[in-house]
Amino acid sequence: MTATTPDWVNPLRAADDKRLPQIAGPSGMVIFGVTGDLARRKLLPAIYDLANRGLLPAGFTLVGFGRRAWSKQDFEDYVREAVEAGARTKFREHVWERLAEGAHFVEGNFDEAGFDRLAATLAEMDTTRGTAGNWAFYLSVPPDYFSDVCHQLQRSGLAEAGEDSWRRVIIEKPFGHDQETARELNQVVNAVFPEKAVFRIDHYLGKETVQNILALRFANQLFDPLWNSHYVDHVQITMAEDIGLGGRAGYYDGIGAARDVIQNHLIQLLALIAMEEPVAFEPTELQAEKVKVLRATSPVYPLNKTTARGQYTAGWQGSQPVIGLREEEGFDPESTTETYAACTLQIHSRRWAGVPFYLRTGKRLGRRVTEIAVVFKEAPHQPFTQSQRTSLGQNAVVIRVQPDEGVLMRFGSKVPGSAMEVRDVNMDFSYAEAFTEESPEAYERLILDVLLDEPSLFPTNEEVELSWEILDPILDYWAAQGRPDGYRAGTWGPASADRMLERTGRTWRRP
């Protein structure tokens, strides 16, 4: 027996040694669906970037699993191509050589033969590469296959970790398409892997600005006193994309914008903006607060007035003429899938009672932008006359998640000149200017967190099920409403979305 104690602490790590990099322990990663779009564009480059920053352990091993009849060399060439195209850090031949040594490909289907081969390969790696039995399984495959993969991992004994080692599984959205299917999916995964070994990726949570929401709110005295219904009029959370859905019919038709984006990204952003202060900056405490605020959240009724959905029609995306959704290849010409979704949510708590949270997302909108705008009430009394403040709007704090990550504050200021006139000005903090260009990409951060067993930035099964509970009534209502409203590509969504805010005298910010 080895002299191992469960609460062993590495004597070389000290809390005050801030420079010492946190390198993942001995481990390897298996990617299912390694030939897919996500793996090629994001995962493989992120793994290289981690290696280049020196954050992967000696002997890190990357195993691709797929149907192709690839040799080790074929796989290396494929990974190298993906890395050269997508890595954010400089390509260094010697870093690549080390990574390539540990790159292996296992050919197979999601059947017994394939997983037996995989099990044999991993066992061999554990003896030749020093991965020490620690493996993360990245399920970069459609959720229909989760059940097969999990079942096979269990059957082949791969889901079970030996002594002093671990097995973890990483899954990507969509986490179901309503609360019931989400629950089923969780049961499938949790039947094989305990919840603490399951990491659900919501790559938005890996972004610096999103983590900065917590720093902004809880490390400062400046914002917290204003962060409630006394001062906040409403909150707008926007994720706009300029791309269309050409080529993504298989995934998107029948799913729609609300399931694709609101259920995960936007509701997670809402939770971070609205939650109470966690007792400590610890994964379980953060999750406790997120769950609490999600449980208090519900749609505002009547849904025909508080929600809007749309489908893009032909138009001009900037300087490009583009076709409408129904003309996109692969989409049903009678498709009722929405490409724009907006809804109004409320939070039943002392802090947020009466403050509407407007969430919207869409494809083929004016430009690609994700932001959260906290819009404040007007001053209760104005010594300035109406004509002196015609150009004064409501104060706002805007958190820009992408692009140009940063925080903007909008307030009134005197216009220079002999007359007293107040106009809105911006005070802008930009990440790129104030800090590094070295901030890691979201997937880099998240993959490292999985290897280090640091679950703060991953939604739990409970959070996933709760966010469906919020969204399900809206989805059910829309399902009975036929075709979504059309909106011209390159605009900011359908007229019904504007009416949804006008009803209460508000307007959408142009992001």
Binding site: T2, W8, G59, G130
Partner: protein, 313 residues
């Protein structure tokens, strides 16, 4: 853009910085003032390029003070660099002679950014006691570069004069290596280390501070072996490290200028690539944490507990 200000005053320099800022909207959000103190004899181009590269990560106002002959007439020439010539920063390069060389703190005072940290960097020769140097007194963080002028007692001097906020680039040089070393102990079996041996050539303070770090953290006998000089100066100086443990030795060896081999008894050897850090990488890291580096202080404190043996022929 480079604005030349021959025979100038700090007031003109400040005005020219403000003007450059108004006409060049890129410069905002500077997070610190970095004062670089060097002599006009030093490799000024190298110093400026290192600061420029480091400033990609830390937009700063950089003030480079190049002191010349104190016996000449008092004279100040300045160069204001913004935009592409200064990285993400704005830079003032000043050449001073005469009486002015004794009043560096007065020269920089009107140019410090309000309410942001001040960092002093001596890229070549450092004062005997950095925290008592007039520029060092202004700064929260004082960065020296012992590797540049190695004397027999350099580490003793750094230890004796240590004040919170000091650090040296010999320490940032070994951060990547320390990460690899620490991660080897994360592997099973988790046994206590009984003794440590590490070796490297003479005149490489990074090896000594690495020994001090291990002695402080582990509290076991640490032997630093002085070996023959390196044939390739790109190679990381701590050539060999051995942890003695009950199950056998754990070793970390530097194979070439970019590869490290980790070996544990009964386990396959593994190779890991390690990038040698440039001066700009080190400076960037130094600027990342602006509070006193207690780990460095402890490593200095560990130095007297290190046994030194000489293996040179």
């Amino acid at each position: 853009m480079i604005i030349n200000l021959p025979h100038t005053t700090t007031r003109k320099i400040a005005a020219s910085l403000l003007e450059a800022r108004e006409s060049n909207s890129q410069i905002t959000g500077r997070v610190l003032t970095l004062i670089v103190v060097a002599s006009a004899e030093d490799d000024v181009d190298h110093i400026i390029s290192v600061t420029r590269d480091a400033s990609h990560e830390h937009p700063a106002r950089v003030i480079v003070l190049l002191t010349g002959d104190a016996d000449e007439d008092t004279h100040l020439d300045a160069e204001v660099r913004v935009g592409g010539h200064a990285g993400a920063s704005e830079m003032v390069v000043m050449r001073l002679t005469g009486e002015l060389t004794h009043h560096l703190e007065s020269v920089v005072t009107p140019l410090l950014l309000p309410d942001t940290p001040v960092v002093a960097w001596w890229p070549t020769t450092a004062p005997d006691n950095p925290s008592e140097h007039p520029i060092g007194e202004l700064a929260q963080r004082r960065i020296t570069n012992a590797a540049h002028d190695v004397t027999a007692d350099i580490l003793t001097r750094l230890r004796d004069t240590y004040a919170p906020g000091d650090s040296d680039m010999m320490w940032s040089k070994i951060t990547g290596w320390r990460g690899i070393v620490a991660s080897t102990l994360d592997r099973h079996p988790h046994e206590p280390v009984e003794a440590v041996t590490l070796s490297g050539p003479a005149g490489t303070p990074s090896v000594d501070i690495a020994a001090g770090w291990l002695a402080d953290r582990l509290g076991v006998p640490v032997t630093r072996v002085i070996t023959a000089p390196l044939d390739d100066d790109r190679v990381f100086p701590v050539r060999h490290l051995r942890f003695d443990r009950a199950s056998g030795p754990l070793t970390v060896d530097v194979l070439d200028h970019r590869t490290v081999r980790v070996a544990l008894p009964g386990r396959p050897e593994s190779l890991v690539s390690m990038v040698i850090r440039s001066d700009a990488d080190c400076l960037s890291e130094e600027l990342r944490h602006l509070d006193p580096d207690l780990a460095y202080a402890n490593a200095l404190r560990g130095l007297p507990r290190v046994t030194v043996t000489d293996e040179r022929d």
